[in-house]
Amino acid sequence: MSLNELSEKVDLTLANLSILKTGKAKAIRFSTLEAICKVLDCQPGDLLEYSKK
């Protein structure tokens, strides 16, 4: 799925998707997480990962 397609389905701007993709995001709304999980048919755990820096 392309970023354009995802942004349309999740109702997020490309700029915000880019923030998410590059890891610059400071926080994510539950509504956004829910929308992404719904479109990609996955669990939040599949999207989030903890790593020690």
Binding site: N16, I19, A25, K26, A27, R29, T32
Partner: protein
């Protein structure tokens, strides 16, 4: 009719220009008058800037006259600098009401705070110095007429602005966090 923030800023911009011109004239007048008295014609001390009679001080000691006029001039120049900063920030349109917490605005507040502290310091010093001169028997005009009054107000303003600058620091962090919340 509701007045928008843009209109208020426009009015403040015009007012700042008027005040800036006024304080520049005052600063320039004080400096020129002091220079003219010390270098060209000492008689001018009797009609120092805005009619303040400093002839008694000049007769007492030109060195003290220089110190007193220096304090007056420094305070006047600092006042002009404050209004220059206000005009600059309004002219550059750095005040974005949709995202009010910015680094530029915080820097502006810190600069104004420092200048206000400086004015408070120099005017306070000027008042004490004038009091000392009066005790020495020198006839001096009122400190209010010498534009040396209100040191405590300037210091209060400086501290208030410094606290606001600290609040802005946190505001910038929260705004950045909010912008990066998806």
């Amino acid at each position: 009719m509701e007045i928008s923030t843009k209109q208020v800023l426009k009015i403040l911009y015009v007012l700042s220009w008027i005040i800036f011109i006024g304080v520049c004239i005052e600063a320039g007048g004080s400096i020129f008058s002091a220079f003219y008295t010390l270098v060209i014609n000492p008689v001018n001390a009797a009609t120092f800037w805005e009619g303040n009679d400093l002839s008694s001080l000049y007769k007492y000691d030109p060195g003290h006259f220089f110190a007193e006029t220096l304090l007056i001039s420094i305070a006047a120049v600092m006042k002009a600098c404050i209004f220059y900063l206000i005009i600059k920030i309004l002219h550059d349109k750095k005040l974005d009401m949709s995202q009010p917490f910015s680094r530029e605005v915080r820097l502006f507040i810190i600069k104004v705070s420092c200048l206000a502290f400086g004015i408070g310091l120099f005017t306070g010093w000027g008042v004490k110095y004038t009091e000392w001169l009066v005790k020495q028997g020198v006839k001096m005009p009122d400190t209010h007429h010498l534009r040396l009054g209100g040191a405590d107000v300037w210091l209060f303003m400086s501290i208030t602005l410094f606290v606001i600058a600290q609040i802005f620091k946190r505001g910038i962090e929260i705004q950045t966090e909010n912008e990066l919340t998806v």
